[in-house]
């Protein structure tokens, strides 16, 4: 403190700002009214709680998962997992599997985690329009044509990854295949990083020319 508080304060401001940019998100936020999701990620010293009302409040949880997750009711969900596992939580079919594998600890109402994921995944914000209010139309368009290419790559990558992981689980492939998948994953990450670096370089050029 106050570094950790500064982090939650900034994250809270950002999340609420982003949610406010999408008019439809109000409905999804209303579904979560009064609910809380607390996430503990391996390797992080604190848990983070998202508390939903007319806005999102972010709290830091200083006590460990085992202590706080005893306070469960139908409006709370406590999750303890690893960062990499987070994207898989959006698929209901995977949750039991993850718990069985010991990769996910969950107390409370799992539906909350999925509603939270939906709130953010379904955000539909016209970033180009938002940006153009600051930079003007032409730079905004230039940035976004690069950004769209990267976004398409990310989406394709995460789709392939999800498909790969689902297959690995359902077909119960052995560990050797798992290793191959990891190698493939690393290659994809490298490719994605190159794209992102190119994108960053273009952004820098644009920044200098503004």
């Amino acid at each position: 403190m106050p570094a950790s508080s500064l982090f939650t304060a900034s994250a809270e401001a950002l999340i609420n700002k982003v949610i406010a940019l999408d008019e439809d998100s109000e409905k999804r936020l209303a579904l979560l009214n009064g609910k809380r999701l607390t996430v503990f990620l391996d390797g992080f010293p604190w848990g983070v709680t998202l508390a939903f009302s007319s806005k999102v409040d972010i709290l830091l949880e200083h006590h460990p998962y085992e202590d706080v997750s005893v306070h469960v009711d139908e409006n709370t969900c406590y999750i303890k997992t690893h960062f990499d596992v987070l994207p898989r939580l959006t698929q209901t079919s995977q949750i039991t599997q993850l718990i069985r594998e010991g990769k996910l600890h969950l107390q409370g109402e799992p539906g909350i985690a999925q509603q939270v994921a939906a709130l953010f995944q379904q955000l539909d914000i016209d970033w180009e329009e938002q940006l153009s209010t600051y930079t003007g139309d032409v730079p905004a368009h230039q940035i976004f044509s690069s950004a769209s290419a990267v976004k398409a790559q990310v989406l394709a990558f995460s789709e392939r990854l999800t498909r790969g992981l689902s297959n690995a689980i359902t077909e119960e492939k052995d560990i050797a295949v798992g290793k191959l998948a990891v190698m493939h994953f690393n290659d994809e990450v490298d490719a994605l990083r190159d794209d992102a670096q190119r994108f960053e370089a273009r952004l820098r050029l644009l920044e200098n020319s503004l």
């Binding site: 403190m1 106050p2 950790s4 508080s5 500064l6 939650t8 304060a9 009214n33 009064g34 809380r36 508390a51 009302s53 007319s54 806005k55 409040d57 709290l59 830091l60 949880e61 200083h62 306070h71 009711d73 409006n75």
Partner: protein
Amino acid sequence: MSDTDSREQASQRTPNASTEQTDFGFQQVEKSQKASLVANVFDSVAAKYDVMNDLMSFGVHRLWKRYTIDCAGVRAGHKVLDIAGGTGDLTAKFSRLVGPTGSVTLADINLSMLKVGRDKLRDQGLVNNIDYVQADAEALPFPDNSFDVVTMAFGLRNVTEKQNALNSIYRVLKPGGRLLVLEFSKPASEHLSKIYDMYSFHILPRMGQVVANDADSYRYLAESIRMHPDQETLKGMFESAGFEQCDYTNLTGGIVALHRGYKF
């Protein structure tokens, strides 16, 4: 009566320290007088209170309060008392966290501060689960065992008999409930202490003069901070009131400390 008048009166009434005297900043005043002197200060600063808070602390007071909220463990359905709640910074967040099944009582001895707080919270659309009560922390007008959580941010140092306030809070807390007191305290390092003294006695009153046209009130704030018990003394006072598992966390090098105690 202006704040300056009241301070002059206060200094005239400091012939010798007796058991009936107490501190008002660096002055000694009659105990019976302190509450109204403090009331004058907060009447005088109420309108500019929020903007001065941001200026004086460079916005860091928001982080101290945020940390307090993190440690409060407030959940849906809880009954929370924010005593000396002033303009309602903590109350606003608690109101959202307790939800429609819970409630927050914003209590303050000063009507001007309560009014600024109520208007601010209403503007934020927070209306349904907040009660506003004018109350003295030393004699809280609530039944025993009423609240799950009590918070007091930057309020305790203004109270005449601090131990009475802690006893009173203990009474109104439910068993299992907790008290959090956020208050200026004693910086842990000498260096920081010197810089901080320089800031609070030389710069702060000038800022008060320029922004709020009220150097005296801000001088009182600085002085009252120095007269407030240090971390260990306050922890002892918590224990005397009956609180258990008492601890404190220094924030920003001990400029501020968050004390916590439970009633079991």
